[in-house]
Symmetry: D2
C-alpha cells in the first residue's frame, strides 16, 4: 500500500509509520516530494493493515495497491472457471437462460411454467419459495412447500433449479431441494449467511447488492471461495441510482469489468435491473452482446395475476420472442444457447 503523510510531516512522522510497519512485519520505502512525503509499504495490503495506517494522525490517505480479493481473482486463476450443475454448464462459452416465475404460487402454475420453458430449451428454472419482501404485508412465499413444488416440476422435465435462500434457518431445506442456491441482493453482505452457504455443497448464484461496488461483490464471492466453494456464479442485477424511471440501473459495464478481474462466470438479471417488462428484451440483447454468460429472467404464465413482481415478468409469448432474438444474436458471439 502507499501511505501519504499530511503536510508538515517530517522525520518524527516517518518514524511512526516505520514503527507500525515493523510491528506488522512490513517494510517501508520513503519518497520525499517538495510538498508531500509518500511511503510505499511493501507486503500485505489487506483491509486490516490499511486501517491501522489510516488511524495514524500523521496519515492523510492510504492507497491500496493490491486487490483485496485473491481466490476469485484472475491473478490467482487465469482461465475462465465454469460452474457445473449436473449436466448443465455455466460459462464455457455458453449463454445460459435461467427463467421462471418470481415466486412459486401453486403446483399448476409452476408445472405449466416448467413445461413451457423446457420446450423452449431452458435448462434451469427459477422460482422463489422464501421471498424477501420490503413490506411485511406482501406475499412472503410458500416456504418449504414452494421448494418441493419447484423440485417436482423441474424433475418432471429434466431441469435444474435455482432458488433464493433468505436465512440460515432455511438453508438446510433450500440446499437439499435446489440445485443452485441463490443469495439475493438484500443479503449480498450478510456475511454470516454467505459463510454458511459456502459450505452447503451446492453451486451458489451470488447477486450483487444494489448498493454494492464491483469490488464488494468480489469480496463477498471471496468469502465463498475462502469457505472452500469455487462453484460461484456472479449476477449483476442493477444498482440504485438517482434515476427513477427504471427500478434500478443495470450496470452493464460491470460485466466486462468483472470478466477482466475474475475467472468466475457472470450473468445478469434484466427483470430486477429494470423492473419493467418492456425493457427486458433489449436489455437481454445488450447483456449477451457485452459478453455475459447468461441471464436470469422472470417469466409467468399470467403476469397480470402474479402475486409478486408482476410488472417485470414476461408472459410466454414475450419469452418466446426473447429466445428468438437471443438466438439470432448468439451466432455473432460463437456461443451456444443453453
Amino acid at each position: 500500500m502507499v501511505v501519504i503523510l499530511r503536510n508538515g510531516s517530517g522525520d518524527e512522522e516517518i518514524e511512526k509509520v516505520e514503527a507500525l510497519s515493523s510491528r506488522l512485519g512490513l517494510s517501508c520505502h520513503i519518497s520525499k516530494g517538495a510538498e508531500k512525503i509518500v511511503v510505499g509499504i511493501i507486503g500485505d495490503d489487506r483491509y486490516t493493515s490499511v486501517e491501522r495506517f489510516e488511524a495514524l494522525e500523521c496519515v492523510e490517505q492510504v492507497v491500496r495497491v493490491l486487490k483485496p480479493f485473491k481466490l476469485v481473482s484472475r491473478e490467482f486463476h487465469g482461465e475462465d472457471l465454469n460452474v457445473e450443475v449436473g449436466d448443465v454448464s455455466i460459462g464455457n462459452g455458453k449463454f445460459a437462460v435461467m427463467a421462471g416465475p418470481c415466486a412459486v404460487e401453486d403446483r399448476s402454475m409452476i408445472e405449466e411454467s416448467a413445461a413451457f420453458l423446457s420446450e423452449m430449451g431452458v435448462r434451469i428454472i427459477r422460482g422463489g419459495a422464501y421471498k424477501p419482501r420490503t413490506s411485511p404485508y406482501s406475499f412472503q412465499g410458500l416456504g418449504r412447500k414452494g421448494l418441493e413444488l419447484l423440485r417436482e416440476a423441474a424433475d418432471r422435465y429434466g431441469m435444474k433449479t435455482v432458488t433464493e435462500v433468505t436465512g440460515e434457518a432455511t438453508l438446510e431445506a433450500v440446499s437439499s431441494l435446489s440445485d443452485i442456491v441463490q443469495i439475493g441482493a438484500r443479503n449480498a453482505q450478510n456475511f454470516q449467511l454467505i459463510q454458511r452457504v459456502a459450505s452447503c455443497g451446492k453451486p451458489v448464484l451470488l447477486k450483487r447488492g444494489f448498493m454494492n461496488t464491483v469490488e464488494e461483490l468480489l469480496l463477498s464471492a471471496e468469502y465463498i471461495a475462502y469457505g472452500g466453494n469455487m462453484s460461484i456464479i456472479l449476477c449483476e442485477r442493477g444498482i440504485r441510482t438517482f434515476e427513477t424511471s427504471t427500478r434500478n440501473t443495470l450496470d452493464i459495464s460491470a460485466i466486462p469489468l468483472i470478466k477482466m478481474q475474475s475467472p468466475l462466470p457472470i450473468i445478469a438479471d434484466p427483470s430486477h435491473a429494470s423492473g419493467r417488462r418492456d425493457l427486458i428484451i433489449p436489455l437481454s440483447r445488450a447483456i449477451l452482446a457485452v459478453g455475459a454468460d447468461g441471464i436470469e429472467v422472470e417469466v409467468h404464465p399470467r403476469p397480470e395475476s402474479a402475486l409478486s413482481d408482476s410488472k417485470q415478468s414476461l408472459n410466454f409469448r414475450e419469452f418466446e420472442r426473447l429466445m428468438q432474438e437471443l438466438k439470432s444474436l448468439v451466432d455473432t458471439r460463437e456461443l451456444v444457447l443453453t
Copy 2:
C-alpha cells in the same frame, strides 16, 4: 391508490381495472381527462395490490396514496414513543450518547473504555462482538467471548449495552447478553433476521441501510412492530452517494422527516456516516441541533491501534471535547444529556 391508464385507453381498459378492483374487494372512481384516464381505487393500498394493478397492460403508472407502513406511523400513534432500557430512556426529550469501541478487542480495553465513558456520564456502551466485515481477511470479532467481556464491563459501571447481531445463529447469545440488539446497515433488509430479532424480547436499534430510503427503513421497522415489539430505536448512519471524500453521506434531513412520519425515537451515527474522526464533533452538533434523540459514536482508548474502524474512532480526549460541545448546545433544546 391512483391508477393512470396508458394513452388510447377506453371503456374496455376501464372495465379491466374495475374487474380487478372488484376481485380484490376494492371500489373505483373514474376520472376522464382530455388525454388521460385516471382511476382512484378506494381502500387498501398495500404493495401486493399495487403490483396487481401495475401488471395490467393498460396501466401506465400506479401511485400509492397511503403510507405502506402503519404500526410505526404517526397516524397510528400520535405521540412520541420512548424506549426504556432498564432505567435509561431513549427519546422523551433526552439526548442519548451511546459510545464505545467498534469492536471488543480484549478485557482491558473494554474495561478501560467503560470506566472512562461512565465517568463522562455515558449510560449505554457499544462494542461489537460479531463484526460484519467486507473482507474475509479482516478481524471478525471475538464472538461470544466479546459479548461476555462487554457485559462484565458494563455491569461493573452500571451501564447498559448495545451490540450488533449478524445472524440468526448468534441471536440467542446476543439477546441474552446485551440490553439492546442492533441490526446493522448490511442487514437492514435481512427480513428473516429482523423477524427473529422482533421476538427476542429486547429493544432493537435498527440502522438504516446505506442504500435504503426512509420509507424502506420504516418498513423494516414495521416488520419489528408487526412481530409485536415496539421498542425500536431508528438510526441514520449515512447513505451511499457519489461523494467519496466521506465514507457515506449523513442524510441529516432524514431525522426531522422521520420525526414527522413516525413516533419512534431516532438517533444518528456520525462515525459511520463520515468515516472521519475530524468530522464527528461538528456532525454531532448538527445532529443534536436538527432534533435527533441521540448519537451512537465510536470511541477507542488508542484509535491508532484499533483492530477496526480506527480511522473513525475518537480518542478519550476528543470524546471529552465532544461531550462539552454537546452540553453547551443541549441547553438550547431544553434536553437532558443522558
Copy 3:
C-alpha cells in the same frame, strides 16, 4: 394531475383546491377514500401548475399524469425522426459511428485521424476546440484555431464534423464551422445556452448530464424543439453513481426507454461513460444490440501522448477491431453501419 390531500382534510380544504383550479382555468374531480381525499385535476399539467398546488398547506403530494415534454414526445410525433447532416443520416435504421480525438491538438494529428477514420468508413469526425475542463490548469483546447483545423481535415476527406460549444460567446464560431453543434454534459441544463443553440440553424447533439434523469434530458431537448429546431440527436454518456471503478455508469436502459417515449434518434458515448479504453469495445457492442442509433467514441493516433482523455481513447488498431465487431453484430439488427 392528481392532488392528494393531507390526513384530516375536509370540505374546507377541498374548496381551496377548487378555488385554485378555477383560478387556473382547470376543473376538479373529487374522490373521497376512507383515509384520504384525492382530487383529479383535469387539464394542464405543466410544472408551473403543479407547483401552485404543491404550495397549498393542505396538499400532501401532487402527481403529474401527463409527460412534461410535448414536442419531443412519441404522442406528438409517432414515427422515428431522422437527423440529416448533409448526405449523412442519423437514425433511419442506420448505426452511426462518430469518432475522433477528444481535442484537436494540432494540424497533423487531426489530419492523420481524419485520413484513418475516413478509410474505416466513418462519416462524422468529432474533435474538441473549446474544452470544458474541471481544472483551470488543464489543457483548454485550441479555440477557433481548433475549429478551423477540424473543418479543413473533414473537408479533405468528405466528412461531417461534430464539436462542442461551451458558451454563448463562441456559439457563432462553432455553428459556422461545424456541421453538428454538441451541448456537453456539463451544460445539459444551461438553458440560456441551449436556447441560443436551438436557433443556430444546425443539428444539435445533446448529451445527457451525468446527473440528469431521462425526463430532464427530454425537457432540455424540448427547449430546442420549442426554439424551432427538431434536428436533435440525444446522447447517453453515463451517469454518476456510487460505483467508482468506471468514470460514470453507462445507463444502457435509458436507450430503449427513450426510444419508447420520443421519436428522436439516440446514440451513446462509451468513452465518457466508462472512462476506460478496455471497456469501449464490449460496451459498443451492447449499445448496438440494445437498439441505439450510433455511438460517439474517442480515437487518437497516440493515446499515450494525448493532451486530454488519453485513458479513454482507442488507438487506431483498437478502433479497427471495434469496427469489425460492430459489423458482425450489425447484420443481426438489419442496420447499415454509417
Copy 4:
C-alpha cells in the same frame, strides 16, 4: 503523484514511466513490492500530467498526492477569508441570513419582502430575475426588469442583493445591478460563464452543483480565484441521491470538510436542499450548529401563490420563527447573526 504498474511489469515498463516523467520535467522514485511496482513521481500533480501517465498501457492506477486546487486551499491561505459586500461581511464569525423570494414577480411583492426582511434584521435580499427552469413552459423570470425591481427595493431598505446569472449575455446587466452575483447549481461547471463572472468585479456566490463533489466545487472556485477574484462565497445546496423524499440530500458534512480544506466562507441553502418548507427550520439549525457562515433561504409573502418554488418557501410567520430559533442557537457558537 503515485503510479501503480500492472502485474507483470518490469524494467521495460519502468523505463517508459521514467521517459514520460523526464519529458514532463518530473523525477521518479521506484518501489518494487512482491507483486507490484509503484513509482512515486515527484513534482507537479495537475490533471494534465495525471492523464498522461494514465494513458500508458503499463499503468494500472494513478493516485494524486497533491490537491488539484491551490489558490483556494488552506495550504495557500491559512486564515479564514471574509467577503465584504459594502458594509456587510460574510465569514468573520458571523452567521449571515440571505433571504427573499425565489423570483421577483412584481414590484409590490418584492417591496413587501424587503420591508419585512429588513425589519427582521436581514441585510442581504435574494431574488431571481433570470430563472433556469427545467421546463421551457415554466415561469422564466422578469429578466432585466426583475433586476431593477430588486435593486430599488433593496436600496429603499439599505440592503444588499444577490441574484443568479444564467448566461454570458446577461452578465453585464446582473453585475451592474446586483451586489453579489450568484452562479447556480446547473451552471456549477459552466466554466466559460464562471471565467467571465470571475472578472466582473463583484463578489460571487458559487453554488455546488447537485452532481458535483466537494473537490469539483473547489476547482470551480479555483477558476474564479485564478481569474483574480478572491471574493467567493461557497454554497452547499444538496446533492442528488437515490432518496426521493427530499428534493436533494443536504450534504451537511461538506461544510466542515470544506472549512478544513479552504479558507473561503461557506453557507448552505436549506430550501433547495430539501425542497420542503417543513424541513427548513430544523436544517437551518443544523447548518448553524455544524459551523457554516450563513444560509440562503427562500421566503415569500404568500408561498401558495408564488410563481416558482412555492413548495419550499417560508411565509413571513415561519421566517420569524426561523430567526428566533437561530438567535437562540447562535449564542452557543459565539457568532453574530447578520
